[in-house]
């Protein structure tokens, strides 16, 4: 079975967000980038399934410029077999989806996994776009994934519950917890990752369909109004009369 796992390169979760002076781009200066936390579920589950089957491959795919390679190597250190980088600035979800669909088609992958969304753009869109471009089912967001031959059984989160869905390969799933416990690379993995193949290819398709005109930070909070613990009931009155939320 051939697994394709899409990873995005995002600012570390604790990053203080700032923008370039024209507010058009995220300010990368001094920021540590990590594998998108949701994508780690996709990556680890693909590796677990490959190990359980005792055969197959896990290919990691990233659409990004050369500065994403440390995180691609990290994915290889966690256990992916090889990697592809589409050499482009990921302009929007549609642009990224075109690259993934093209690689998936060419490589004949059976299972395409990715995280539910990226923690920078928070789009939650790429999975469905790829599925539609390839004309195959998408399951989003998936909390559980098991394979039996060419049939996958997934748990899909719905508001207030879950659905059990069965699909045949090829399919796309966007992953979230509690799918698995994401793995961290060990020393052996880090050593072998250095020699695993990382192919760089050029982008295909049309441009983006959306453009960020400007980023902005939310307005600053007024500051907290503290109520003494002895007088806790006073808070409820404030919530009714001042904040008007109850």
């Amino acid at each position: 079975m051939k697994f394709l796992v899409c990873i995005s390169n995002v600012p570390d979760t604790t990053t203080k967000i700032t923008f370039t002076p024209d507010n058009k781009e995220f300010n990368k200066a001094g920021v540590q980038f990590v594998i998108n936390p949701w994508d780690e579920y996709a990556l680890t589950r693909a590796i677990e399934l490959k190990e359980a089957q005792g055969s197959g491959t896990v290919t990691v795919l990233n659409v990004g410029e050369a500065d994403t390679e440390p995180n691609i190597r990290k994915a290889l250190a966690i256990g992916a077999d090889d990697a592809i980088r589409v050499n482009a600035h990921p302009k929007d979800a549609y642009f990224v989806a075109q690259q993934i669909a093209s690689v998936a088609k060419e490589g004949g992958y059976d299972v395409i996994l990715m995280g539910k969304e990226s923690i920078d753009y928070n789009g939650f869109q790429v999975h469905g776009m790829v599925g539609e471009m390839l004309g195959i089912p998408t399951v989003a967001p998936a909390m559980k994934l098991d394979m039996n031959g060419n049939t996958a059984t997934l748990e899909r989160e719905i508001e207030g519950g879950k659905e059990i869905v069965e699909v045949n390969t090829p399919f796309v799933a966007s992953c979230q917890q509690p799918m698995c416990e994401p793995r961290i690379p060990n020393m052996r993995g880090i050593m072998t990752a250095r020699t695993k193949p990382l192919k760089v290819i050029e982008p295909v398709g049309e441009g983006a369909r959306t453009e960020v005109a400007e980023y902005a930070l939310p307005p600053k909070k007024q500051g907290v109004k503290l109520i003494p613990a002895e007088n806790a009931g006073e808070l409820i009155k404030l919530l009714r009369n001042e904040a008007k939320v109850i």
């Binding site: 928070n122 999975h127 776009m129 089912p137 369909r209 959306t210 400007e214 009714r240």
Partner: protein
């Protein structure tokens, strides 16, 4: 040319987030000088659908095919695309829900539309330019996004639009069929399992949320959270470590790797306010923090706070809510 609104229904009722979406859609239609049609999915009653007139919807399409009661991505996408074609919809509005995201992303390719999710405000339409504001960086920023091309799809974040309400206004409900084949149901769920929701309130839809962290010390103390939630008509939630050790189920975990909520009121009890937790709750309108540590980072994100012991403070709050009547 029209605006098409996708309305999700459950147990015959239109979901609260879909009332918001309907209101959003009818206001966009007004800006564009056209009308808003709704396509309803899920289990709906005609009477409840007709009430979408109160949110400014002028017509509701409904396909009563029983297999559409539960979400099926293939079939829903085809159904909504057919409705968009029939209505010549240039703008399609959905909720930023699991259904909205799954269908919206497929539709954007099928209809060659540009897509914005997580949208928090009505669009700005200036001449040919169509601009929407969306949340980004896990609630730490906003992005103004230009939607290019002739067709647009917008997924509206829950609780970011005040629903319109013109009491008594009704919309005609018209039956609609997308001529679905068995192949469209290939990804139909084999089983749907609903989880117990505290007080029957769905966390992602909730207007008020009472949430507990590790400071609650153990599951045996959760009645304190539940009592306050019940008195307030709120849903309950928790931090990640709490669900990791199974004090509470996973579907109550909010934050960066859990559910994102944006209620009007979020009360955090014994939660430190780590950045990953804030990422899932920081767009709540009013945040209340109860923590015995005055240095807890959550106080920086809070509107109201009590420095105190949850075991002492929570019963007092519940009592005070009951006294309000």
């Amino acid at each position: 040319m029209s605006v098409l609104v996708v309305v999700e229904c459950d147990n015959g009722e239109v979901k609260k987030s879909s009332l918001e979406v309907a209101s959003y859609g009818s206001q966009v239609a007004q800006m564009l000088g056209t009308s808003a049609t709704a396509i309803a999915v899920g289990e709906a009653t005609e009477a409840n659908l007709a009430k979408l007139g109160e949110q400014g919807i002028s017509k509701v399409l409904y396909d009563a095919e029983p297999r559409l009661k539960d979400f099926v991505n293939g079939a829903y996408t085809k159904l909504i695309a057919a409705a968009a074609q029939q209505e010549d919809a240039k703008v399609i509005i959905l909720a930023n829900s699991n259904i909205g995201a799954a269908v919206g992303s497929r539709l954007s390719v099928r209809l060659q539309a540009s897509l914005a999710t997580n949208v928090v405000e009505l669009p700005q339409i200036n001449g040919g330019q169509f601009l929407v504001k969306r949340g980004a960086f896990s609630g730490k920023a906003f992005a103004d996004v230009v939607l290019q091309g002739e067709r647009k799809i917008i997924a509206v974040k829950k609780n970011s639009i005040e629903p319109l309400h013109e009491a008594g206004k009704t919309a005609p409900v018209v039956s609609f069929s997308a001529q679905l084949s068995d192949a469209d149901f290939a990804d139909a769920p084999k089983q749907v399992i609903m989880q117990d929701q505290a007080g029957g309130i769905l966390l992602p839809e909730a207007d008020r949320v009472v949430s507990g962290g590790r400071g609650m010390k153990g599951p045996e103390n959760w009645h304190l959270i539940e009592d306050l939630a019940k008195a307030l008509g709120a849903a309950t939630a928790c931090s990640k470590p709490v669900s990791d050790v199974d004090w509470r189920p996973h579907h109550e975990h909010v934050g960066q790797t859990g559910i994102t909520v944006s209620p009007n009121l979020y009360i955090a009890c014994g939660i430190s306010g780590a950045i990953q937790h804030l990422a899932g709750v920081n767009s709540s309108k009013v945040i209340v923090v109860i923590n015995k540590d005055p240095e807890a980072p959550f106080f920086k994100a809070a509107d109201y706070g009590i420095v105190g012991d949850v075991f002492d403070v929570l019963p007092k709050l519940t009592q005070a809510v009951k006294e309000l009547g």
